[in-house]
């Protein structure tokens, strides 16, 4: 069985051909990414791998930055947003049309207003968009009105793309869900376009093509086209899994050094740790499951410049001078030393490592000359400059590693940071309980800097430069569904009666008995996930059900507020 994995990253697209289940790497490829044409980047990588019989591949797994880019940059906004039971507070700028109709439920899932379908029908006559995002007040507690609205929209426009907020996420916040639904509706076309483009050229059948999600699981192409938003931040998930696969460790701190950024993630018991409040993209939290990563602006291409008589390590990325095609011409004047806006080539850690002989990447003469010029400007000897720059890179790395391990961000130059940095008479050594695994092409010289400052196993595995692509192949299809049984008191003829409510895919069911409600919740969770596995063309899988009570004490008695039934399925 041969499987192919391609990871489209910000700077490079990595590909790997592997033999499964032995997980032997047969071929690797690395091509630069064209951010304006992701399909072309995938295809270039595919050709570089020279696959002889695409139709014989058991699996073709792709991870793209498509959704992440779209979330950060925004796209063409060709969506109609339908709000049920709540007038949005802010103007909705992510949709070009907005329809607000009466309806919605309360926190217990009871109808507050009947759904005003006649208003919807009359509004539909004026709407031009063919994509619809629907979100109802407390739609996550009772999606009845969302479902009715969606059916009505499809009735009027059978070809429309309709996305309901509550089918994407289960968290409260109606406008957040509307935003996700709108983004998802918009991305659906782009994603299916990309999948089609890849399929038609590579000749890999759609039935064996899979896309990576942000939580590190694979989905079928059909599912990815329906819920493209779930692929946000799939790159970091791929690198975390790749790191753990290449070293074979079930617990590890994976550090992925790229061109622009370094991502650090934690693998625990063979699984990536997920972020508690969902993916952090472009400065805000999307309530979409994604890997918990610590990202810092440090990589092979981070700018090093001259400022106020001293060398500085910046935050933006430029291309390394030692890789520039016409470096001598660029170095004629001293502008390459300064943080000029729009600068393409500059001094970077790549140049530093080349000049010091820590890496073999680029032109050594140019790197040495560039750093000598910087040393002269700063009035330092070359060795002093190397020491200063290495210390800057080291302290930024140490600070972010401690952030990833403790989940507390140390302020730069703060007390804790000073202690971490150490001084001539204090050497701070971090003893880490898990091995550190380095992934990404320029990782080795970065990890070398930590020598003597970290007491743990540091592994840079073979094929680390295509670790992301390995991660894309070596994960599987799995799913997780939480069904909550909410215990809510109801007054019936002046007496308080406990009721147990379960939200289903089209409404809400109320039970008088807790056990029955839990059984029902487990049944709907299981059947939904089975359905999901069938759609993902997975035949052999394992289902597990966990029941957890959320309780509190009242007058010494333990009471249940809600029961969370978690169902998981995993490919075997």
């Amino acid at each position: 069985m041969y499987a192919l994995g391609i990871d489209v990253g910000g700077s490079f697209t990595d590909g790997v051909l592997m033999e499964l289940p032995g997980r032997a790497v047969l071929k690797v490829a690395k091509v630069p990414t064209d951010p304006d044409d992701l399909a072309a980047s995938v295809l270039k990588c595919f050709y570089a791998l020279a696959i002889s019989a695409p139709s014989l591949l058991s699996r073709f797994c792709v991870s793209t930055t498509l959704a992440t880019n779209a979330m950060v940059e925004g796209t063409k906004k060709d969506v109609c947003a339908i709000c049920i039971g709540l007038r949005p507070k802010q103007s909705i700028e992510y949709a070009n049309e907005v329809v607000t109709i009466d309806g919605g439920h309360d926190a217990s899932g009871n109808e507050v207003h009947p759904l005003d379908l006649s208003k919807l029908t009359s509004a539909m006559a004026r709407v031009n968009s063919n994509s619809f995002a629907i979100s109802a007040r407390f739609g996550v507690r009772n999606p009845e009105h969302e479902v009715m609205t969606s059916n009505e929209v499809l009735n009027v426009r059978p070809s429309a793309t309709v996305v309901r907020g509550s089918e994407l996420v289960g968290s409260l916040g109606m406008e957040e869900r509307l935003f996700l639904a709108a983004k998802n509706a918009e991305l659906a076309h782009v994603m299916s376009g990309l999948i089609r483009a890849i399929g038609s050229v590579t000749k890999v059948p759609a039935s064996s093509t899979y896309i990576l999600k942000g939580d590190g699981s694979l989905v079928s192409t059909e599912e990815a086209a329906l819920k493209p938003i779930m692929t946000v931040l799939s790159g970091p998930a791929a690198s975390a899994i790749g790191g753990s696969v290449l070293t074979g460790s079930r617990n590890a701190l994976v550090i992925d050094v790229g061109g622009t950024t370094t991502d650090i993630s934690l693998i625990h018991d063979g699984r990536v740790r997920l972020a508690q409040n969902g993916a952090a993209v472009g400065g805000s939290r999307l309530r979409v499951p994604a890997v918990d990563i610590t990202t810092i602006s440090l990589g092979g291409n981070t700018e090093i410049f001259f400022d106020d008589g001293r060398p500085k390590l910046g935050h933006r990325a430029v291309r390394p001078l030692c890789l520039a095609p016409d470096a001598p011409r660029l170095m004629k004047d001293r502008s390459f030393l300064f943080p000029v806006s729009g600068k393409v080539y500059g001094i970077t850690p790549t140049d530093l490592f080349r000049a010091k002989g820590r890496s073999e990447y680029g032109d050594k003469g140019i790197a040495t000359a560039a750093l000598a010029a910087l040393a002269q400007a700063c009035d330092l000897s070359t060795d002093e400059l190397f020491g200063t720059l290495e210390e800057m890179i080291r302290s930024r790395l140490l600070r972010s590693l401690s952030t990833a391990l403790t989940e507390v961000m140390l302020s730069e130059g703060g007390d804790a940071d000073t202690l971490l940095r150490g001084g001539p008479h204090l050497r701070t050594v971090l003893r880490v309980g898990v091995p550190i695994v380095g992934i990404g092409a320029p990782v080795r010289p970065f990890l070398d800097l930590l020598e003597g400052r970290m007491e743990c196993e540091m592994i840079v595995p073979e094929h680390h430069e295509v670790g992301n692509a390995v991660g894309v192949v070596c994960t599987g299809v799995f799913g997780r569904r939480e069904v909550v049984v909410r215990c809510e008191p109801r007054m019936v003829q002046g007496e308080q009666v406990m009721t147990y409510n379960v939200t289903t895919s089209c409404g809400q069911r109320t039970f008088p008995d807790c056990e029955e409600a839990v059984k029902f919740a487990a049944a709907i969770g299981t059947s939904e996930l089975r359905d999901y596995m069938e759609r993902s063309r997975v035949r052999k899988y394992q289902t597990k059900v966990y029941v957890r009570d959320i309780t509190y004490q009242e007058y010494g008695v333990r009471k249940v507020a809600e029961t969370v039934v978690t169902v998981t399925v995993e490919e075997r």
Partner: protein
């Protein structure tokens, strides 16, 4: 579950026979716990009334006498002293923050320890308001620390606790909108939207009505208002409040002030919750 009543009584009697002083203290403290006092802090109480007064007393002699008048709840004296200070050219805002506020803070802390009672808080508050009014005439608007609403959950008519919290929050410089008792979640949410509130205080005495607090917290979250709710009251426990999001539990009126200070200075509910634990 509660054990058999007879067993419980038997144990209690046995305990009384064995250690009568401790029994007496526990009984007293048990009743105080109902009202929202912490047993541990009372047991470990070291500061005396005078020490607390000394802690807040302003250095300035004129200011110290204003603070004393506030503690005594003497409105006429506060009026006289504040007018005199202003005519001497003192900054009205300085008088509010450094003379009137220390007075009420002393009273609040005394109340929290059980050395002052509700009528005294109300009297001190009234005295302070007189002073603030004079300062305000001179100054225009005294800046408030934040905009808050207080309510008692739907179906509950017990509002003594809420009234104390409202008085203490007002005394601490918050602009408090009193929504009254038996208030539905929708009324609270509508008020939050209309008045641009930063935080909401909800309380309830009965365990049957505590679901109203949860409903309010969830409705605020669903409507995306980013307004957390501070919950308290005899029927409300930390355990219960932490079964839902967007909420912070407060045990005493002073906790309400701490929560309000945290939330109104821009902290989220998670951070404030952690800070109070």
């Amino acid at each position: 579950m509660v054990r058999h009543m007879d067993l419980l009584v038997e144990e209690l009697l046995e305990f009384r026979a064995r250690d009568p002083t401790r029994y007496k203290r526990l009984i007293q403290e048990g009743m105080l716990t109902e009202l929202g006092f912490e047993i541990e802090s009372k047991a470990a109480k070291v500061a005396t009334v005078d020490e607390i007064k000394a802690k807040y007393r302003p250095r300035d002699v004129a200011y110290a006498s204003i603070a004393d008048a506030v503690i005594a709840g003497n409105r006429a004296k506060v009026e006289e002293l504040v007018t005199a200070s202003i005519s001497k050219g003192k900054d009205p805002l300085d008088i509010v923050t450094n003379a009137l506020m220390p007075g009420i803070q002393t009273q609040c802390e005394l109340y929290d320890r059980g050395d002052a009672f509700v009528p005294e808080i109300l009297m001190s508050n009234a005295a302070m308001q007189v002073g603030i009014k004079i300062a305000q005439e001179k100054l225009g608007d005294v800046p408030t620390k934040g905009k808050i609403a207080s309510f008692v959950a739907e179906g509950d008519l017990h509002d003594i606790g809420k009234n104390i919290v409202v008085a203490i929050l007002r005394a601490n410089g918050f602009d408090v909108l009193d929504l009254g008792r038996d208030v539905s979640a929708d009324t609270v949410v509508a008020a939050a939207k209309e008045k641009g509130l930063q935080m909401i205080n909800g309380s309830t005495l009965m365990s049957t009505t505590k679901a109203g607090l949860k409903k309010t917290a969830e409705t605020l979250e669903e409507e995306g208002l980013k307004v957390p709710i501070a919950c308290g009251g005899a029927a409300v426990s930390r355990g219960y409040v932490e079964t839902f999001n967007n909420s912070i539990y407060g045990r005493s009126p002073l906790d309400a002030v701490k929560i309000a200070t945290g939330v109104c200075s821009g902290k989220g509910w998670e951070e404030t919750r952690k800070a109070l634990r």
